[in-house]
């Protein structure tokens, strides 16, 4: 569905998402990232230097202009120094723009590159992904860690430039006046260090505000999600009151945070002001005994202001590099995950007969087989085995924000160990015989890609993707309108088309939100039918559909799939009547086999389809 790219764009920079990152350690990963950007990071560093160095030169030039020009009334000298000042300012402005330009480029390389890698990793791992890394963590790598790399790499360039400008400023100061220079050089880091004790309560206030604010946001989304109930049944006052209570709590925490921020700002004003006072005092006494000129004193005022910038950059860099390492570790854990199976193997024989050893069920080619089970989990597990899907695993605990730093780190280490253990178990499961054979050959011998093409399982949780009705039914964009229409008719989904003013181009929202369960289920069915694989395994394809529509689908489905291999896992008598064979599972084993007529007197069979008729209803 995607048109070929029209030539080269100037943005984004080219990204090769398939290159292999260095996954040996987080810092190696960060350095690999920097190298992979090619000339962008060196260029950014150079630009940052040409932005910061002029700022280091300005106070000196200003002092020279005053001494050599203004004080003496020497117009030529004044103009000369001013011309130099203008030049330096111009270089600084251009350097600033270039720095910003390269930083954005580097930032985007990090964001888009990570997002593309995450997407590739997700599509490569398929259902194994959720067994390796919890969904929330995958999404946070894509949405926030990708951003962190931009910040870390930018800080890397910034800190180099800060070091250069700091050195230049120091040399200029020390050559002008060693005493004053030393005072500035020693007191600047002390001043920054002096505000660290208040940074801790500030960080705590920030964290408290953030935590409570995110609870407030979840209260709001809770209200929006449950709004049908609140407006339908009632409870508006209760939940408005709950929201207000939390909102006031966040307000108070916000004010506490604002107070600490005010403290930090007041301290920084006090300390830098006192440094200035010290400089004035020392400078004036030097001036009085004639060892310092007016212009030089003015320069020192400028340096006292300038030097805080590189100092802050040093402190920030340490912080951002650590944050970058954390992001790198999470990203590596995702990128290092691998599929458990070999990627090559024998092709799947066409029209194969499938045999599941555990249940004893045989799927005969070109026929429609119904599977009935008293335990819905047993039949879903059978579908997974027939499709070679690993069993679903329990969700992993995510980070508990309540834990302290050390406990959180050790919990994280345990999780990583558990993940590695699970990957090892999966690899073992995938290496040994699978227990399902196609014409006598075990699945473990077969090429997994070929198997996925020939045997398609449409499971109960199958997702719809945002797009149009057309792309929902035909995401591949390779089918004809006639084929799609047939699939829609078989799935009895014409009314979904009718309800959309734009027809095939009607919008389907993310995950089919806005459609009813029955509508979603019928589009999923139409999509699976359009794919038309050799063997199609449908798990509960009509569980959310009304009896009228189900009857219609049952008849059309059997006719549509005639001569193809189809497995339907269901308890609906309407569907089962259309099956060539029905296999009844008891305790996960095939207990009886036959068609609907033959099984009529079978008590196990009757019990399940009676449930299909009765118990699932009110």
């Amino acid at each position: 569905m995607h048109a070929p790219r029209r030539g080269r764009y100037d943005f984004p920079p080219a990204i090769d998402p398939d290159s292999r990152p260095d996954l040996r350690s987080p810092s190696r990963f960060l350095f690999w990232l920097i190298r992979s950007y090619g000339w962008v990071v060196p260029a950014m560093t150079l630009a940052a230097s040409s932005w910061m160095v002029p700022a280091a030169l300005t106070p000196w030039l200003l002092g020279r202009a005053i001494d050599a020009g203004v004080s003496r009334g020497d117009a030529t000298a004044t103009l000369g120094w001013i011309a130099l000042l203008l030049l330096v300012i111009a270089v600084g402005v251009i350097g600033g723009i270039l720095y910003h330009t390269f930083a954005v480029r580097e930032w985007l390389l990090g964001i888009y590159g990570t997002q593309r890698r995450v997407s590739r990793q997700a599509t490569r791992l398929g259902h194994v992904l959720n067994r390796r890394v919890p969904t929330g963590e995958v999404l946070s790598v894509s949405a926030s860690d990708s951003d962190q790399f931009g910040a870390t790499v930018e800080a890397f360039g910034h800190v180099v430039a800060a070091a250069v400008s700091f050195t230049i400023a120091s040399v200029l100061m020390l050559t002008t006046s060693p005493t004053l220079g030393l005072v500035v050089l020693i007191s600047t880091p002390l001043l920054l260090g002096a505000s660290t004790p208040v940074l801790r309560p500030l960080t705590r206030a920030q964290e408290a505000e953030r935590t409570e604010n995110s609870s407030l946001t979840s209260l709001a989304s809770d209200i929006a999600t449950g709004l049908r109930i609140l407006r339908g049944i009632g409870g508006e006052r209760t939940f408005a009151r709950n929201y207000e209570r939390q909102s006031q709590k966040v307000r108070d925490l916000g004010i506490r945070l604002g107070t600490w921020q005010a403290v930090v700002e007041a301290i920084s004003i006090l300390l830098s002001g006192l440094l200035l006072v010290a400089l004035v005092y020392l400078g004036s006494t030097h001036m009085l005994d004639g060892t310092l000129t007016v212009g030089e004193l003015v320069s020192f005022f400028g340096y006292a202001v300038f030097l805080t910038t590189p100092m802050q950059v040093f402190f920030e860099f340490a912080q951002k590099w650590v944050q970058g390492l954390v992001a790198a570790q999470k990203t590596m854990s995702l990128l290092a995950a691998d599929v458990p199976w070999r990627t090559s193997g024998r092709p799947v024989p066409a029209g194969a007969s499938l045999r599941d050893q555990q249940s004893g069920v045989i799927v005969r080619p070109h026929r429609m087989l119904g599977i009935v089970s008293a335990d819905p989990d047993a039949s879903a597990a059978l579908a997974d085995r027939l499709g070679r899907y690993l069993p679903e695993s329990d969700a992993e605990q995510s980070d508990d924000p309540e834990l302290s730093g050390r406990a959180r780190r050790s919990a994280r280490r345990e999780r990583l160990a558990a993940r590695a253990a699970r990957a090892a178990v999966d690899a073992e499961l995938a290496a040994k015989p699978w227990g399902v054979t196609a014409d006598g050959v075990d699945y473990a011998q077969l090429d997994i890609a070929d198997l996925r093409r020939r045997v398609v399982v449409s499971h109960t949780g199958a997702d719809l993707f945002a797009g149009t009705l057309q792309t929902a039914v035909d995401p591949w964009g390779t089918h004809s309108r006639e084929q799609a229409e047939r699939a829609m008719v078989v799935a009895s989904a014409e009314d979904i088309y009718d309800a959309m003013p734009e027809g095939w181009q009607g919008r389907i929202d993310e995950k089919g939100r806005g459609l009813s369960g029955g509508q979603r289920q019928r589009i999923v069915l139409a999509r699976a039918l359009l794919l038309d694989p050799d063997t199609l395994i449908l798990v509960e394809p009509t569980s959310a559909v009304d009896a009228h529509t189900e009857a219609r689908i049952a008849g059309r489905l059997a006719a549509h799939r005639r001569g193809r291999t189809t497995v339907v896992i269901t308890a609906s008598p309407l569907l089962l009547r259309q099956c060539d064979d029905i296999s009844v599972l008891v305790d996960g084993r095939e207990a009886a086999r036959g068609d609907h007529e033959q099984l009529r007197g079978n008590p196990d069979y009757h019990r399940v389809i009676a449930r299909g008729m009765e118990e699932s209803d009110a």
Partner: protein, 642 residues
């Protein structure tokens, strides 16, 4: 008739060629062209990006679907109203900031005087010490005033924000029932999360900083004029650059940033779908297509980033030069003025220090205005929700009895397509009526009209002789309730989760009784805190069966005489069905029920069955009557049951 639309228009709406790229034409870079051609292409690309941003912005201001958006004027009015209610807070914030700014301006001024006295030789060491102590004292005062000023600005910002978001939630909780039921929660969810956070940014960061920066810039200019009017002249250049440049930037930036953030939500949506649907992607061989879609998403996003980058570059060029160039001007004018004897070196020093102090506020003021604009746009989206018209017309009439009747009901979600074509239905007190029919036949719509969710296009639904649309919501809820498949558990206590309909009147005993009726009291009484135990996301987790019991207990507390059960099958998950049978029976006991049935068993047990097809009731009667009729229902029943 229904199949007609599909077979008639399918050929017209099907797209047989691949969808065009989402990137507009003209963004490619010419290769091998001359410099002027390349520059022209660069300008063209910028124009294309600007046009895209304007389109996205226009769409954000007047969306084609979803909830309406208010105008910027209305949004500013809303925020202005909140500020007017906080005049005292605002006054304090401004006064304290002026104080802090003035204190900050004293030190450079005195340094200038000091330099003049030192160079003029009119100062000895003891005089110097006195002056320096004075400056130190002023700095201490400045730091104290700054603390008070920043704190008061923060109080104003956070207080305003709390009031604004609480008002927004109250607006959301007043949304007309019909709109809540028909529109998905997606748009509302985005607004109540991401737009509130943009509004929050504006209120708690931008607003206080605007006050700080504007006061600082204003006071510094005054101080410069006091120091030397001659040396203030270069600031005219700054003012001109900032005025015109700032306007140019601000008029474009909002659209640029909105476009940018929208491209990131597209990327997030694509990634979330791919990751959550990883199994589906694998099963259907969609991997390559998902990757290609993400790649295109990032390319579209890169163009939006490229646009705002250019805007920022222009802004940086402007801000950097606007505060650095006056420095040159000051030295130049100072040198001239000094030879003429108009200014002293001290005044030049003071002016230079003032200019360097202006960098921060000048940098900030544009960024602040930027965020304020974004905040106003977000606020416009938030209060736009309030513009939905309620189609209910609550009156004074009291229902006489509990008989529910619908007559001549016609209704359509689209003006050109009716779903119901004149339906008459009446429900006897205590009766069970099942509605069956194929999907799209209008049976759910009928349920919604009967429950008073939507107003029929023509015809009316009455309860006890009063139109349901004329009943106040609080009253309607005790008459008829629509039970959908949703069984959302709210964040809140067990009591909060159950009292809903009678939140102001129900006692704890009644809540307990309702929980007992649905067999839930056993596990609720064991929770720490009992009725006060916190439920919902991140709190005590409930099993699906327990969540369903809570949903049923809500209805018992509401105690309506008529229930409309929509897709009741889905309300009861098969694995917990047996367990919930008793709870459900307790709820239905003694009430009239309209069940929109998927399974024929429900229909079989009902007193009467209505078969809906093509927006009309085609058969109605008891199970046996319908079997004798040998119509649709009888056919279906026989296939089902054989």
């Amino acid at each position: 008739m229904r199949e007609h639309l599909f077979s008639q228009t399918s050929a017209d709406t099907w797209r047989s060629t691949p969808a065009p790229s989402r990137l507009p034409e003209g963004l490619d870079v010419p290769t091998g062209a001359g410099r002027s051609a390349r520059l022209a292409a660069l300008a063209r690309r910028h124009r294309i990006r600007a046009a895209t941003a304007r389109e996205v912005f226009a769409d954000a201001r007047a969306p084609r679907q979803g909830f309406p958006v208010a105008t910027s004027g209305q949004a500013a009015g809303f925020l202005g109203g909140l500020i007017r209610g906080r005049r005292v807070m605002l006054a304090w914030a401004v006064v304290l900031n002026v104080g802090a700014a003035v204190a900050g301006l004293v030190a450079p001024f005195m340094l200038g005087r000091l330099i003049d006295q030192v160079t003029g030789g009119s100062l000895d060491v003891s005089g110097l010490t006195g002056l320096v102590m004075l400056v130190a004292g002023v700095i201490v005062a400045q730091s104290l005033l700054t603390f008070a000023a920043r704190r008061s600005s923060a109080v104003l910002g956070y207080d305003l924000l709390a009031a604004a978001r609480e008002e927004v939630v109250r607006i959301v909780l007043r949304l007309p029932l019909g709109h809540v039921e028909s529109s998905g929660s997606g748009d509302l969810l985005t607004r109540i999360t991401s737009d509130v956070s943009k509004m929050a940014n504006a209120a708690r960061w931008a607003l206080p900083n605007l006050i700080v920066s504007v006061v600082l810039i204003g006071m510094t200019l005054v101080a410069m004029a006091v120091n030397s009017w001659l040396l203030t002249l270069p600031m005219l250049g700054t003012a001109l650059i900032m005025w015109f440049g700032g306007r140019t930037y601000l008029s474009r930036a909002t659209a640029g940033y909105i476009t940018e953030s929208r491209t990131y939500s597209v990327i997030n949506t694509t990634t979330t779908e791919t990751v959550e649907g990883a199994r589906t992607v694998e099963a259907l061989g969609l991997g390559g297509l998902r990757n290609a879609q993400l790649d295109e998403d990032t390319e579209v996003s890169a163009q939006a980033e490229r646009y705002t980058m250019t805007l920022r570059n222009m802004l940086f060029a402007m801000v950097d030069s606007s505060f650095q160039l006056p420095l040159v001007g000051i030295v130049l004018l100072g040198a001239w003025g000094h030879t003429e004897g108009w200014v002293t070196i001290g005044q030049i020093t003071t002016a230079a220090l003032y200019v360097s102090q202006l960098q921060g506020p000048l940098d900030r003021v544009i960024a602040v205005l930027d965020h304020l604009q974004l905040g106003v746009v977000a606020t416009a989206r938030l209060i736009g929700v309030a513009q939905l018209e309620d189609d209910r017309t609550p009156g004074e009439a009291e229902p006489d009895g509990v008989k529910l009747t619908g007559s001549g009901l016609r209704f359509g979600y689209r003006p050109d397509l009716d779903v119901l074509h004149g339906v008459d239905v009446d429900l006897r007190p205590g009766e069970r009526l099942a509605i069956v029919g194929p999907s799209g036949s209008g049976k759910s719509t009928l349920g919604r009209l009967v429950a008073g969710i939507n107003r029929p296009r023509s015809g009316e639904v009455t309860v006890g002789g009063v139109d349901v649309m004329d009943l106040p919501l609080d009253r309607l809820r005790t008459e008829v309730a629509l039970v959908t498949q949703e069984h959302h558990v709210f964040v809140g206590s067990v009591r909060d989760n159950v009292v809903l309909a009678r939140e102001t009147t129900a006692s704890d005993a009644e809540v307990e009784q309702a929980l007992r009726a649905v067999d839930a009291w056993g596990w609720v009484s064991k929770l720490p805190g009992g009725l006060d135990a916190e439920l919902g996301h991140g709190k005590t987790p409930l099993t699906p069966a327990q969540a369903q019991q809570v949903a049923l207990a809500r209805l018992i507390v509401a105690d309506p005489h008529t229930l409309v059960l929509d897709e009741a099958t889905s309300l009861i998950d098969p694995s917990s069905a047996r367990h919930l049978e008793g709870s459900m029976a307790a709820l239905l006991d003694g009430r009239a029920v309209i069940a929109i049935a998927h399974r024929l068993h429900t229909a079989h047990d009902a007193d009467r069955i209505a078969v809906v097809d093509g927006g009309r009731i085609v058969e109605i009667g008891s199970h046996h009557e319908l079997l004798e009729l040998e119509g649709q229902y009888a056919d279906l029943w026989r296939t089902w049951r054989d």
